[in-house]
Subunit: 152 residues, 2 copies
DNA sequence: ATGTCTGCAAAGCTTTTGCACTGAT
DNA sequence: ATCAGTGCAAAAGCTTTGCAGACAT
């Protein structure tokens, strides 16, 4: 599936969601969705704002925050708080579900996937009687590069 | 081990830390430590500030934030970001290590402990070559109470 | 005595809100 | 023609910072 097809598909998902919720299909909302899906990796609202200001489409911060909430609600993006006060976002469609490890020395973020996370999720859901909708798992530590540098 | 003994012990830990770092043993720092360890559960800086203002000891927000950083650094408290922008803190000494599940409907926070988290940690550390110092794991969902209410 | 720590207030940053205008339905 | 959505700017809320005075060493 190429970039164009993914764009078309997520637009369709978003479109269905908007209809279902009885909201309006504004050009801003789809422009933001495109911009989000053109990005790779993590980003924050301010970065997206600057980028869209400089590029073809102008949007306000208010609309960006509003649309982020919609995209989260329909599952097209996820929101992270990597220990800072700046929320980081990440697209999810056609992206393998994964968790993150952050190097506290250089700030590098890497991804991994371990099926045991879901096993734990199932156990916790059963024991505490929750309907779990999402999880967030982060490991923090020192990456091998930083370990070497510190020894020098 | 009673409350008094815990207070004495954590004061000693903090005292050693301050000496090792070449910092000063100010009354404010120990007053904040006491207050933190007198609390149960999670709290934010503003709550602590109000409480200390109303109680025997007056401290500034600046000192509170400063001291929180020290207490985190010496491992006497941990900092959480439960998806909001308000940092939540929690004491750690003599507290069983645990993770959290948050009800997205009523905001209730419950705790659980699953040994498989450490197994995942070990695997990730080995595969990606990190020295992992901490992790944060949160599940989000709907608790049984809220599920019942929504059906009414 | 020295220089770190404190308190206060101001500033900084991200996010939210109020309001008038715009545009999707 | 409605009224939800947008943009702008102001406000809000948590956290950090600058600076003068206080006090631990």
């Amino acid at each position: 599936m190429g970039c164009k097809e993914i764009q078309a598909t997520v637009r369709q998902i978003f479109s269905n969601y908007i209809e279902k919720k009885g909201l309006r299909k504004t050009p801003e909302r789809f422009a933001i969705l495109d911009e989000v899906y053109a990005r790779t990796g993590h980003f924050d609202v301010e970065t997206l704002y600057i980028q869209m200001k400089n590029a073809s489409y102008q949007v306000s911060r208010a609309t960006l925050y509003n649309t982020m909430d919609l995209l989260i609600d329909c599952g097209l993006i996820v929101k992270h708080q990597f220990g800072k006060n700046i929320a980081q976002f990440e697209k999810t469609y056609r992206c393998r579900q994964h968790d993150h490890i952050i190097c506290t020395s250089c700030g590098k973020v890497e991804e991994y996937c371990d099926p045991r996370v879901h096993e734990i999720e199932n156990t916790v859901a059963q024991v505490l009687d929750y309907t779990i909708t999402k999880h967030s798992l982060y490991f923090y530590g020192i990456c091998s590069d930083c370990r070497k540098k510190n020894k020098t």
